[in-house]
C-alpha cells in the first residue's frame, strides 16, 4: 500500500471514491438543513454527523449488502448510502405517517430491515452484544455475513462494550467494532473517558487486534475497515477499528457545547474537515473539478429540500397504530385497550 499522506494514484476505483464523496456532501447538507429545521421547531430532536462523515460512510461502504449494521447515534447516513430512500428517512425524523417505523422511535434512531440496519438504542452500548449475537448467528448458519457494530468513545465506558468484545474474542465472531472517537461524549472529553492510551488498544485485552486510523480521512477509514471486514468474512474473527475524528457540532440539538468546550479546538478540527480532505485528494488525482463540486452541491440541496417538502406533507401517524407490533399478533387485551382509547377524545395537535 502507498503511504496515505502522499497517495499519488487513487487507491480505490474512481466510482467508489466519488460515491463516498457524494454521500458525504449529501449527508453534510442534510444535517445542516435538519439542524435548521430543528431550530425552527419543525423537528423535535436531531443528532448531526457533521465532521464524522468519513468515519460513517467510508466504513459503511466497505460492507456488502447482506452484512448488518448495528449503529450508534451518528450512522443513520449509512442507511442512505446503502440505498434507503431519503423521503421515508426524513419521515422518521418528523415522526409522521411516512415513517416505515410508524413514529415509534425518536429522531436519529432510524432503522430498516431492507438495508440490514437496526435501530440505535438510546441506552449507550447495548447494540454491541446484539451485534456479536448476530455475528455468532451468521457463523452458526454458515453464511458469509459480517456485522458492523458502531459505537462512540463514550460507549467504551459501558459494561456492554467489554462483555461484547469479550464474547466476540471468545467466539471469534465475524464482527467489526467501529468506534467513532469524536473526542466528546456530550460534555466529557475522551481524556476523562479512559486512561488507556487509545481505544484501539483495548481490543488486545480481548484477544484480537485494534487499529487506530485518521477518522477524517475517508481513504484511511475505508482501508482499515475493509481489511477488518475481509478478515472477519474469511474466519479471522473480530477487529476494533478506532476512527479518530471530531464532533464539529453539538452532541445533539439539545446540547450547547460552548458551555464546556474551547472553540479554538473546534477551529483546529475544522481545518481537517473530512469533506475538504477527500475533495483535495480527488482534485489532486484529477477526478473532481470545481464545476462538478458546484453542480453536486446544488443538486444535493435541491434533492434534500424537495424530500423535506414531500416528507413534511405526510400526516401524523394514526393513533390506532400505536397498538400494533407490541406482539406479533394483537392480543385481545390490547384490542380492548385500543377500543377504550379510541372512544376517548384524541390528544395532541389534532385536538387543539
Amino acid at each position: 500500500m502507498q503511504p496515505l499522506h502522499k497517495l499519488e494514484t487513487p487507491p480505490l476505483p474512481r466510482e467508489i471514491l466519488l460515491r463516498i464523496y457524494r454521500e458525504m456532501v449529501r449527508l453534510r447538507t442534510l444535517d445542516e438543513r435538519m439542524m435548521t429545521l430543528q431550530r425552527q421547531g419543525r423537528v423535535g430532536f436531531y443528532g448531526a454527523c457533521t465532521g464524522q462523515e468519513a468515519a460513517t460512510l467510508a466504513s459503511a461502504i466497505a460492507l456488502e449488502k447482506s452484512d448488518w449494521i448495528f449503529p450508534a447515534l451518528r450512522e443513520g447516513g449509512a442507511m442512505l448510502l446503502r440505498g434507503f430512500p431519503l423521503v421515508p428517512y426524513l419521515c422518521q425524523i418528523f415522526g409522521n405517517a411516512g415513517d416505515e417505523t410508524k413514529g415509534r422511535q425518536m429522531p436519529s434512531h432510524m432503522a430498516s430491515k431492507s438495508v440490514h440496519q437496526v435501530s440505535w438504542s438510546s441506552c449507550i452500548g447495548t447494540q454491541l452484544p446484539q451485534a456479536v449475537g448476530a455475528a455468532m448467528a451468521a457463523k452458526i448458519k454458515g453464511d458469509r455475513t459480517v456485522v458492523a457494530a458502531y459505537l462512540g468513545d463514550g460507549a467504551t465506558s459501558e459494561g456492554d462494550f467489554h462483555v461484547a468484545l469479550n464474547f466476540a474474542g471468545v467466539f471469534k465472531a465475524p464482527v467489526v467494532f467501529i468506534c467513532q472517537n469524536n473526542h466528546w461524549a456530550i460534555s466529557v472529553p475522551s481524556s476523562k473517558q479512559t486512561a488507556s492510551e487509545s481505544i484501539a488498544i483495548k481490543a488486545q485485552a480481548y484477544g484480537f487486534g485494534g487499529v487506530k486510523v485518521d477518522g477524517n480521512d475517508a481513504v484511511a477509514v475505508h482501508a482499515a475497515v475493509k481489511q477488518a471486514v475481509d478478515k472477519a468474512r474469511s474466519g479471522g474473527g473480530p477487529t476494533l477499528v478506532e476512527c479518530e475524528t471530531y464532533r464539529i457540532g453539538a452532541h445533539s440539538s439539545s446540547d450547547d457545547p460552548t458551555r464546556y468546550r474551547d472553540e479554538r479546538e473546534v477551529e483546529q478540527w475544522r481545518k481537517r474537515d473530512p469533506l475538504d480532505l477527500l475533495r483535495g485528494r480527488l482534485q489532486s488525482w484529477g477526478i473532481w473539478s470545481a464545476r462538478e463540486e458546484d453542480e453536486l452541491r446544488a443538486k444535493v440541496l435541491e434533492e434534500v429540500n424537495a424530500a423535506i417538502a414531500e416528507a413534511e406533507k405526510k400526516p401524523e401517524p394514526p393513533r390506532e397504530s400505536l397498538f400494533e407490533d407490541v406482539y406479533s399478533v394483537l392480543p385481545w387485551s390490547l384490542r380492548e385497550q385500543r377500543e377504550e382509547l379510541l372512544a376517548s377524545p384524541p390528544a395532541g395537535k389534532t385536538s387543539q
Binding site: 415509534r104 437496526v118 441506552c123 447495548t126 469479550n166 471468545v170
Partner: protein, 324 residues
C-alpha cells in the same frame, strides 16, 4: 406417558425443539459441559454438539444480548439466565431492548427467543438467588411470561415458547426441579396464555402459579375436610393472561384468593385483583385476598425463608379466617 422430573422435562422440551428446528440454539453459563447447575440441560451438548449448545463467559447482558442479535437475524435462541435474580444484571437487554425492538422497528424484525431462568424460593439462597421476579417482567410491554408448575407443563409450554414469534420469559421454579409427573409421550406442545382448573370447588377460588400451585392444592384438600370447597386455578402464564378462566372461576364461587411468591407491592396478585374488581365486582361475595410474601427481600435462613413465602398452613388459615 412417561414419568419425568420437572428438571428432566426442561431438557426434554429443549431437545424436542432442537430436533425439530435447526434454527433453535441454546446458550448460557454452565449449560453445556456441566449440564446446567440445576442439571436441567444434561445430555444436550452430547446430542446437539458445541455449535448449537454453548457454554458462554459469565456475562448475563452478553448472553441475552447475543440471543437478541441472533433472533433478529434468523435464529431461534434459548438463553439461560442461571438465577432469575440476575435479570437485574441483564435488565436493560430484557426490558429496553428485547421487549421493545419489534415495536420500535414496526414489526420489521421479529424476536423469537426464549429466556429460561430458575426462579423462586426453597433453596435457602437468600435475597439475590431466590427471588421471584415474574412481576418485574410482567410489567414490561412486549414480553410474554410463563411459569409452569409441573413436568408436563414444563415440556409443553417450553415447546410453545420456542415456537412463539415473540420473546418469552420462561420461569422454572427451583423448588420444583425434583418433583415428578406424567409427561405425554411423543411431541408435546401446549398453548401459551391458558390457565388450568386443577380442582373444582364451590366456596372459594384460589389462583396460584408455579410452586404455589401444589401448596394451593394441598391447602384445598385440608379446607375440604373443614367444609370449605375450593377451586384451584394454575395460571401457568401471566402474559398472555387467561382472564376468561380467571373470571369464570371467580364468579362461580364469589371469593378469590391469590397465592404468590412476589413481595406484596405490585406482585402479580395485585393485577389479578384489579382485573377481577373491575370486571366481576358484583359477582364477589367478599373482598379479594392476596396471600403473598411480605414486602421484604427474601432472607436465607431456613426458619426465615419458610416464614416469608406463603405456606400451606398460611393459605388454609387465611381462607378459613376470611371465607365465612
Amino acid at each position: 406417558m412417561a414419568e419425568l422430573t420437572y428438571r428432566e422435562a426442561v431438557a426434554a422440551g429443549i431437545a424436542q425443539e432442537m430436533e425439530r428446528d435447526e434454527r433453535v440454539v441454546f446458550l448460557g453459563e454452565d449449560v453445556a459441559a456441566a449440564g446446567g447447575v440445576f442439571k436441567t440441560t444434561v445430555g444436550l451438548l452430547e446430542k446437539f454438539g458445541p455449535c448449537r449448545v454453548r457454554d458462554t463467559p459469565i456475562s448475563e447482558q452478553a448472553i441475552v444480548g447475543a440471543a437478541m442479535g441472533a433472533a433478529m437475524t434468523g435464529l431461534r435462541p434459548i438463553a439461560e439466565i442461571m438465577f432469575s435474580d440476575f435479570f437485574g444484571v441483564s435488565w436493560d437487554m430484557i426490558a429496553n431492548e428485547i421487549a421493545k425492538a419489534r415495536y420500535m422497528c414496526a414489526g420489521q424484525l421479529a424476536l423469537p427467543l426464549v429466556i429460561r431462568t430458575a426462579n423462586g424460593s426453597g433453596s435457602r439462597f437468600g435475597a439475590q438467588h431466590s427471588q421471584s421476579v415474574e412481576n418485574w417482567v410482567m410489567a414490561v410491554p412486549g414480553l410474554k411470561v410463563v411459569a409452569p408448575s409441573n413436568p408436563a407443563d414444563v415440556k409443553g409450554l417450553l415447546a410453545a415458547a420456542v415456537r412463539d414469534p415473540d420473546p418469552v420469559i420462561f420461569f422454572e421454579h427451583k423448588g420444583l426441579y425434583a418433583t415428578k409427573g406424567e409427561v405425554p409421550d411423543g411431541e408435546h406442545v401446549d398453548r401459551l396464555g391458558t390457565a388450568k382448573v386443577l380442582r373444582q370447588g364451590s366456596d372459594v377460588t384460589i389462583v396460584a402459579l408455579a410452586a404455589m400451585v401444589p401448596r394451593a392444592l394441598q391447602a384445598a384438600q385440608r379446607l375440604e375436610k373443614e367444609g370449605i370447597s375450593a377451586t384451584v386455578v394454575d395460571l401457568r402464564s401471566l402474559v398472555p393472561l387467561d382472564t376468561k378462566t380467571l373470571l369464570v372461576e371467580t364468579k362461580k364461587t364469589g371469593r378469590l384468593y391469590t397465592v404468590e411468591e412476589n413481595p406484596r407491592l405490585c406482585g402479580w396478585g395485585a393485577e389479578i385483583a384489579s382485573i377481577v374488581a373491575e370486571e366481576a365486582f358484583y359477582d364477589l361475595d367478599g373482598p379479594i385476598v392476596r396471600i403473598t410474601t411480605p414486602h421484604v427481600p427474601l432472607p436465607a435462613a431456613d426458619e426465615l425463608e419458610d416464614n416469608t413465602v406463603p405456606t400451606v398452613e398460611r393459605i388454609v388459615e387465611t381462607v378459613r379466617r376470611t371465607a365465612g
